[in-house]
């Protein structure tokens, strides 16, 4: 188990380094950053000053290592637009996005896993068809459109929930549903498929031959095996949700990382964008790592390196 953990950890660190390299090279993707910063009416001298001020005159490798060393210590430099440390702004906004992501994933899993299990126990039943409908609708509907629809009905016509902001928990209901619903179809269908396969397995028959009660057969013997691919998928989907939260946070005016990313793109605030991409990527890597660990706990065969 320890060997497997270390191996996955090594892979995670390598992925994080690769992501950091790509993130860093973003600066040079849109040409010379000093020219972009200086603006249109700048003289040659101004540009040279800016280049020296931000250290863009140094060799690229040195720039990268310097940037990486600072980033590891939590220093992402100054925001070009807000003139404040990037790290401070990000860590102000991060909890909101994490909270939204957590709520959305909780909503998605509590809806999709039980429905997937029910659909698998009674294939082609009413429950199965209802679950399929939910899945197809979720798959077909763009999340921004669903978010706007929710807003229109629940927020404006029926006045049940606040439309924008982060004042109370009620503000998070619609964004979490809109964001989580996007993940639901895949998780539900995978749960159903996994359960159907596992329920037909020989060891389920063995469990029944032991006289075990149906609930125990279902939850102890079947679900644990069926849920393994779902865990991996949920981690991947959570990553997509962090990306999707850019849209959702913008629609609901939630002051999170996604909203910040959107603002920074508009302001061409490079250090901020770099940092956001890196932080979200690292979160994604950590989640994937945790999913691997959870799966290793669920399925002893994975632990064999």
């Amino acid at each position: 188990m320890l060997a497997y953990l270390l191996k996955r950890l090594g892979v995670a660190i390598l992925v994080a380094l690769t992501v950091s390299l790509i993130t860093f090279s973003m600066i040079y993707l849109s040409g010379d950053p000093a020219v972009a910063l200086a603006g249109e009416s700048a003289t040659e001298e101004d540009i040279e000053n800016i280049r020296r001020f931000y250290g863009y005159d140094r060799p690229i490798l040195i720039q990268y290592l310097d940037w990486l060393a600072r980033a590891v210590q939590g220093d992402f430099g100054q925001s070009h637009y807000l003139r404040e440390p990037v790290a401070r702004i990000i860590f102000e906004r991060l909890p909101t996005t994490m909270w939204l992501g957590f709520l959305a994933l909780t909503f998605a899993l509590t809806l999709s896993v039980p429905l997937g299990v029910l659909a698998a126990i009674r294939p082609n039943s009413l429950v199965d068809r209802a679950a399929l409908t939910i899945a197809v609708v979720g798959q077909a509907m763009p999340s921004f459109w669903f978010a706007l629809t929710l807003m229109l009905w629940l927020g404006i016509y029926w006045r049940l929930l606040p439309i924008t902001g982060t004042a109370s928990w009620a503000n998070f209901v619609m964004p979490a549903v809109a964001l989580g619903y996007y993940v639901t179809p895949a998780v539900m269908r995978l749960t159903r498929a996994g359960m159907l396969e596992v329920l037909a397995a020989d060891y389920i028959r063995t469990a029944r031959a032991k006289g075990l009660r149906p609930m125990r057969v279902l939850f102890k013997h079947a679900l644990r095996n069926a849920i393994i691919p779902v865990v991996s998928l949920a981690a991947v989907q959570f990553g997509f949700m962090l990306g999707g939260s850019i849209v959702i946070e913008t629609i609901f005016a939630i002051n999170g990382l996604g909203f910040l990313a959107w603002e920074s793109i508009q302001r061409a605030d490079l250090p901020m964008m770099q940092a956001i991409v890196l932080v979200l990527s690292v979160f994604y890597i950590v989640l994937t790592f945790l999913a691997d660990m959870l799966n290793a706990w669920l399925d002893p065969r994975i632990r064999v390196v």
Binding site: T206, K210, G211
Partner: protein, 344 residues
């Protein structure tokens, strides 16, 4: 203490399929005496596995079971609810399956799965159950039984897994064990070990055993009684000696003819085969199921259902309207069968 441990009368299984109603098991009846072994033999698809699942009430959801009588130690099983039935399963009757590689849950340790089998039915502590599991693993010939409890199925070979399955079936000291082709998926060298183990344990615990197999060699050595199944029906039943020495049904004789006998069957000699294919079991079938493949079939065989007839010795019966010694080669077959049963 008198009376058989299991009585089965008129057991049938029907499964609706697109083409109609499939009858994989038809009017099967037999009994298993206390501490005795009944073999059910027949080729693939003859209904022997479904018969065993029907006894345990573990049939696939769409299959329907009907029976005149189904009783374990005199207690009627037909009237039991699924909940009451589950109280007996793994407790007073248990089952060993064909596929040891896939019959254990990969996510739990051997110990967990063994302990669970006992604690479902008995009020024992976890440590008592673990002690029994260790003791049974030793009984089934596993070295280092204590440590095996912490192992996962994927860490064990097929033979070891089947030993675990046997131990699991014995956790609650059942009155009846049903072993559905317990050695088919194993190496030939392991097969013999597992069968001897089953037979030894059956004698030691004086458990009734139903051994489902297509291996007649196994049957000859280990079983008291034999039921031969063909196309959903029992076509002949008797003591192992009767079946091997005086097989009456043409199908039984054909089966015995298919086995090479060391020292008797010459190299290069043709082994017997049974011409034709198994009939479709969809829809109603009149007459003898074997008629289309039987070398002696007559018009009367196909026209009416064939009832059981008693053999010369008591306890021997067969579904054939023709006399037991019918056919020119019957004597030759009996001699070969003799050669087979002698070594025991």
């Amino acid at each position: 203490m008198a009376g058989p441990i299991l009585e089965v009368e008129n057991l049938s299984v029907d499964i609706p399929v697109p083409a109609g109603l499939l009858h994989p098991v038809q009017e099967v009846d037999f009994r298993v005496e206390r501490g005795r072994t009944l073999a059910i033999v027949g080729e693939s698809g003859c209904g022997k596995s479904l018969t065993s699942l029907a006894l345990m009430n573990l049939l696939p959801p769409r299959a329907r079971r009907t029976a005149g009588r189904l009783a374990l130690d005199g207690e009627d099983l037909l009237g039991l609810s699924e909940r009451e039935m589950s109280n007996l399963r793994g407790n007073r009757m248990s089952m060993i399956f064909q596929e040891p590689m896939t019959s254990l849950n990969p996510a739990y340790t051997v110990g967990d799965q063994l302990v669970e089998a006992e604690r479902r039915h008995r009020r024992t502590s976890a440590s008592q159950a673990r002690d029994r599991a260790t003791w049974l693993l030793e009984k089934v010939g596993m070295i280092g039984a204590q440590g095996r409890l912490r192992q996962y199925p994927h860490q064990l070979s097929g033979g070891l897994r089947q030993r675990v399955m046997i131990a699991m079936a014995l956790m609650c000291e059942p009155d009846l064990v049903i072993a559905d082709e317990p050695t088919t998926a194993l190496d030939v060298t392991i097969q013999a070990q597992i069968l001897h183990l089953l037979s030894d344990l059956q004698r030691e615990f004086s458990t009734g055993l139903i051994l489902i197999t297509h291996d007649l060699g196994v049957v000859a050595r280990l079983c008291d009684r034999v039921a031969v199944m063909y196309a959903g029906q029992i076509v002949e039943e008797g003591t192992a000696r009767q079946i091997f020495r005086t097989p009456a049904h043409p199908y039984t004789r054909g089966l015995l003819d298919c086995i090479p006998i060391p020292g008797k069957t010459r190299r290069g000699e043709h082994l017997g085969t049974i011409a034709g294919i198994v009939p479709s079991l969809v829809g109603a079938m009149r007459g003898c199921h074997f008629a289309d493949r039987c070398p002696h079939a007559e018009e009367t065989c196909r026209s009416a259902p064939v009832a059981f007839r008693d053999g010369v010795e008591t306890g021997h019966r067969y579904r054939c309207i023709l006399a037991p010694d019918h056919g020119p080669d019957a004597n030759g077959e009996r001699n070969r069968a003799n050669g087979r049963t002698n070594p025991e």
